[in-house]
């Protein structure tokens, strides 16, 4: 009753989970915020499933739902990678001089003048 595809998927899921645990454990605590925005960005991979639903012309409702899903996922992909890079650009070592184009010069917050 359980189809073989699902079992294969389960293998992939479990092994990727272990791999994720190993890789993420090594992420520097300095970078936990960009880690979250990076995982936000790559979780925009739901775009690949959404694209098909939006473009396959199954029926009007599916196309509409697919369109909204494509929009939402694209926000994550585009926005996620951009902000991750914006954050990472600000991290610099001592003596490296101010981050190129980054940091307070961007005038992002009211605090930066």
């Amino acid at each position: 009753m359980i189809d073989i595809g699902l079992i294969g998927d389960l293998y992939v899921f479990v092994l990727a989970g272990f791999l994720g645990y190993q890789v993420i454990s090594r992420v520097s605590p300095l970078l936990h915020t960009p880690l979250m925005s990076a995982t936000n960005a790559i979780s925009g991979i739901s775009l690949v499933g959404s694209l098909v639903v939006a473009g396959a012309g199954y029926n009007e409702i599916s196309t509409l739902l697919g369109f909204v899903a494509v929009t939402a996922s694209t926000i994550n992909v585009v926005g996620g990678f951009l902000i991750t890079d914006r954050i990472l650009k600000m991290f610099r070592a001592a003596g490296a001089g101010p981050a190129p184009g980054g940091g307070s010069a961007k005038g992002t917050a009211s605090g930066s003048k």
Binding site: N40, L47, G49, L51, I61, V78, S110
Partner: protein, 457 residues
Amino acid sequence: MRRDLLQLFYLVSAILFVMGLRGLSHPKTARRGMFLAELGMLLAIIGSLLHHEIIDYRWIAAGLVLGTAIGVPMAMWIPMTAVPQRTALSHSFGALAASLIGISEYYRHGAALGSVRVGVIGVEVMLGSLTFTGSLMAAGKLQGLIRGYPITWRGQNFSNLSILGAMLALIVALMFVPSSTAAFYSMVGLAFFFGVLFILPIGAADMPVVIALLNSYAGLTDAAMGFMLDNKIQIITGSLDGSSGFILSILMCRAMNRSITNVLFGAFGKVQDNPAELEGKKPIRQISVEEAAELLGTSRSVVFVPGYGMAVSQAQHRVREVADMLKNKGVQVRYGIHAVAGRMPGHMNVLLAEANVPYDELYDMDQINSQFPETDVVVVVGANDVVNPAAKRMRGSPIYGMPILEVEKARVVIVCKRSLAVGFAGIDNELYYGDKTLMLFGDAKETMVKLTAALKE
């Protein structure tokens, strides 16, 4: 043939994603890593656009354009202090996409689905829907649209668990009768409702855990979507994201010495437990800006301890200016950062990096605690619970057992604070009444500006 090609694209993407996340192990390799991940995403998208079922690209193009139009400003123009809200919103978008695609799948196939498939869709839509509303609530609390204090009501754990049980029962029922649209749509409604109820009782100070947890849910939702569509790249990515969020939640919980169950069901900050009547016992000692400048200027080593208060008053740039003045005078300056300072994992690091503080001056708790006895002056800027010695000494205190930054071991502690108000845990801080503590009252940003001016003289 085309299908195999697509799978190859996905395989390469998966490898690039893993390499990208590995890059985050050090700030030096992080940006290159993210470039690899971006490449992986591009490949996956191009591959998917070649999917054989796609016949019409109009709605796809519209979605891509609209998503970009919303995503770019959200990423480029928001202040760094608002990154927690943005992250929560982003979880909700991902979850919304997954939930809608699940609904579309059920709508399209309905009764034709086998019981296993409908079960997978049920779980996917449930996770997606509750993560969607839950993340929206979290974003609202972080933005201050919904009040940050825990909202509780009688029997809330019982009612929440009943709703969870009802959703699971509906999914099981669907597996027996896949054609029951009523069961499906009531489950969806309950899931949306559950997300709201689930976040309401959680206080603002617990947001680092909650955001990490929602990150994990968003990952799991993605993986569930992969199961539903039999799409391996989504399963891999979802699983990676899920474990990332999970690890972060564990780290945050450990930093507060609490269990996940306690965060989710405990309604932290609700109980205003006995502050043991610290007031009256000991007087506090105040210090003026000039005296503080004198003290800082003549010390050898200074450690700044930032907290959420620094973010609120946007004082990070001004703190760095004070630090620069001190460094010019030959003072060693470092920053001690507690894992749960702020509203999300790594929040303080990002704010200080934004203010051009080099990352090798940022120390986490384990690194800095051994250094406090040799430190001349600690300046606490807007941190409260993470430096409260009650966590070590006062059994029965809500934060008892939480590992803290042991600032009271330094020679002098200057606490820069607006007033004597309690922290988010709602408990008094005996640090303020300590023998070595000097209170510097005022807004963090203004105080730092005045300090810089006083140091110039």
